[in-house]
Amino acid sequence: MTMKLKLLSTLILSMGILFMVSCKGKPKDADIQAAVTTALQSTPGVSADVKDGVVTLSGAVATEADKDAAAAAAKVTQGVKSVVNNVTVTPPPPPPAPEVTADDALKTSVAAIVKDFPGIQADVKDGVITITGEQKADRWKKLKMALDALKPKKVDASGLKVK
């Protein structure tokens, strides 16, 4: 009985020492957390949570590449055993619709331009400039450049004959 007790206490003691030894030299979660957070500075929007050396990434980024970059940065951090990547990819919203000049203003500007291009007729409706007639290629390019600068919705030249 005494023998058994002695053995048990030795076992407990050695386990304790083993535990202390194994803990020593191994970064603590808090230290890993700090290091990972620093490593993640290049990918804003991602945060890390560390438990037993396992890093869980969360947050939202714009592209899949950013998500992978965050995981790669976390993986190479010292003390990290593995990375759970829970980052979501949210593409940025599409750019706002282009502004289109109102018909009245557009009509005035189109008329002012087209008068210098004999042989061209122009019509404006719902932001669309419809061009008909005949024009040399270089002159038509000039006209198209001028019309595009007026911010129309469209320049429809399907009825134009380019010489």
Binding site: A97, T108, S109, I113, D116, K141, K144, K153, D156, V162
Partner: protein, 141 residues
């Protein structure tokens, strides 16, 4: 969306590569709108050449491209690029405004300010001052 951007990828890439600022590429009812400010008149010409290569004679009507030139700033020298005629300088920004003077084809004038994308306030070396149509004015670089 993607189809049009694919078709004009070379154009969009060139705009980015040449340092065109405030580049905005958006789509509305099947038309790709490309807006931006090119660093020079040469870059603007280059972009229009690429556009013309993808869509010969600009006849498809699936792009509206509005590229301004960054060098067209106040005090800049501008060349009058009318076909051959004189450029009217008007008292106000509009073709209904009385004519205050004329600038000859090929003449160099100064940009005072931009009233809008279309109407610029200019001054000739002869002292005539007023609004002229921006389309006929090109920055001298």
């Amino acid at each position: 969306m993607a189809a049009l951007q694919d078709k004009y990828k070379e154009l969009i890439d060139a705009a980015t590569a040449t340092g065109t600022s405030d580049l905005k590429v958006s789509e509305l009812d099947g038309v790709l709108h490309i807006d931006g400010v090119a660093p020079s008149g040469a870059v603007k010409d280059q972009l229009w050449d690429i556009y013309g290569k993808i869509d010969p004679n600009f006849l498809t009507g699936d792009v509206v491209m509005n590229i301004n030139v960054a060098t067209a700033v106040e005090g800049a020298k501008l060349k009058v690029i009318t076909e051959s005629s004189n450029l009217n300088i008007r008292k106000g920004p509009g073709t209904d405004q009385p004519i205050a003077g004329k600038a000859a084809h090929g003449e160099i004038v100064s940009l005072i300010s931009k009233q809008s994308d279309q109407w610029w306030l200019i001054r000739t070396d002869g002292g005539a001052e007023g609004y002229a149509y921006a389309q006929y004015l090109q920055p001298v670089e």
